[in-house]
Symmetry: C2
Subunit: 250 residues, 2 copies
DNA sequence: CGATGACTTGACTGCTGTCAACGTGCGTGG
DNA sequence: CCACGCACGTTGACAGCAGTCAAGTCATCG
């Protein structure tokens, strides 16, 4: 019977990749869990078929029943004000968990949509909650991930609260570079999956400002930019700029 | 607010107030726990003696070993940039948990200091973690509180990302009003425990701008302000302003 | 090949920060 | 009790960063 192991019957089956074989398990929920625990977790995770660019994972106000782990691709989360304007709250890359902000009220306070073809794992929350009661490793990692989310948001408040436009963009690029490096991609060359408008919206800047800064950073030799493609030429200088040397006059 | 210096030596004994007798237990960790669970939680909580205005609960980089629940008073959390400038990330009022952002790295990413005489409960994290494995009610509430923290931070990103100065201050006042109301205080009359500079820092505005807006709001009849004392006269108008009607021109 | 959307660049405006002076309340010490 | 110092807050003048409006360029796709 169990010869179906290797000779996969249909492609749909290929979607199922156990957590222990997932290259992201050191970033994601599995971190710190042993073999037996991993199997329990594997059982409740639903591997979804890929979502296309522009598709929503969920809308604002949708009932919350699962958190999502990104396996590949990227997404953005955003709120909308009454006048219909959209404010982007964050971008999501492989290994990151989405929807943790919905636990409190049982409803998603933000919408999330894919920036490109993207695949995710869905983890039903009621099962995650009860399973985290049984598995200390899972519980600790879940708390760590939520805690990290909180401190990331706090970092973003610093960016928005007191940094100038060029400091914001530099911080954004450094942040992307670091996130890609963690996932084994190049930290100096990457493609932006979001538009200039998205970046500006996220950073609290007009898209024209973002565009101007990209060209200025390029003129200054900090980066090379070619539409969506970014190459970081002077990481250290960019990092210093992001760090927030407010000139000196204080 | 600062009725400071009420040095009651005898009250030191009265510091021990069981969670079930605490007026904040519907906001704090105890929510959703039964009698037996509450007793378990009570056993691990340390009631600390009051901290004075300006005292630190912890500094940036301090080892993390406990989260703190505010019982009375208020505090601010802040980061410091390399040039020594301080960025306030949040204010804390009774019933709120402090330090959840430190779980991820085991070190406090922010410092927290009292704005007035303040008393807190300390909850050792290792015990909280293991206890939350045994008590489903505690685990759920802890996750809810962390989730709420995340969505609050996201709301703040919206404020900082796209609101104008007057919208920010209006949002701040409405937020305070709602928080006080939840705690059984007046939602229309209260004292600010933080300075104009703190408010401006938090909202990403110069303190002069905050001062000017207070006087303008008063001229417009929205509020009455007298040093630290605030009376909200037109809640609805203030709310509408906070909501973010970007004039109309869009 | 034209349409569409994304991006770039320029000109101008205005909100808000900066600098500066002054007012106000409070605690300390004579 | 009063004088003083100091921190905090208010108000004004000015300037600059970044937003808005607008025109034009570029890439992609049907």
């Amino acid at each position: 019977m169990s010869q179906a192991r290797q000779t996969n019957i249909i492609n749909l089956r290929a979607i199922r990749v156990a957590c222990q074989e997932c290259s992201l398990n050191t970033l994601c929920l599995p971190l710190g869990m042993d073999q037996a625990e991993l199997n329990r977790l594997d059982d409740i995770i639903e591997r979804k078929s890929p979502v296309n660019r522009g598709d929503h994972l969920f809308q604002i106000g949708d009932d919350f029943h699962a958190v999502y782990a990104v396996r590949s691709g990227s997404l953005k989360s955003y709120a909308t004000t009454e006048n219909g304007h959209e404010q982007i709250i964050g971008f999501h890359f492989p290994g990151e968990l989405i929807g943790l902000d919905a636990i409190a009220e049982g409803v998603h306070p933000l919408a999330t949509r894919a920036l490109e073809t993207t695949s995710v794992c869905a983890i039903p929350y009621d099962q995650l909650d009860s399973l985290s009661g049984e598995l200390p490793g899972l519980r600790s990692q879940l708390l760590r991930l939520m805690s990290r989310e909180i401190s990331h948001d706090e970092q973003n408040m610093i960016i928005l609260g007191q940094k100038s436009a060029d400091e914001r963009l530099a911080t954004f690029l450094i942040g992307l570079s670091n996130r890609f490096a963690l996932r084994g991609f190049s930290s100096t060359e990457f493609n932006l999956s979001m538009s200039r408008g998205d970046i500006g919206n996220y950073l609290g800047l007009a898209l024209e400002t973002v565009s101007r800064l990209f060209t200025r950073f390029q003129q200054d030799g900090l980066i090379r930019v070619e539409r969506k493609f970014i190459e970081i030429l002077e990481y250290d200088q960019l990092y210093a700029l992001a760090g927030g040397e407010h000139s000196d006059h204080s």
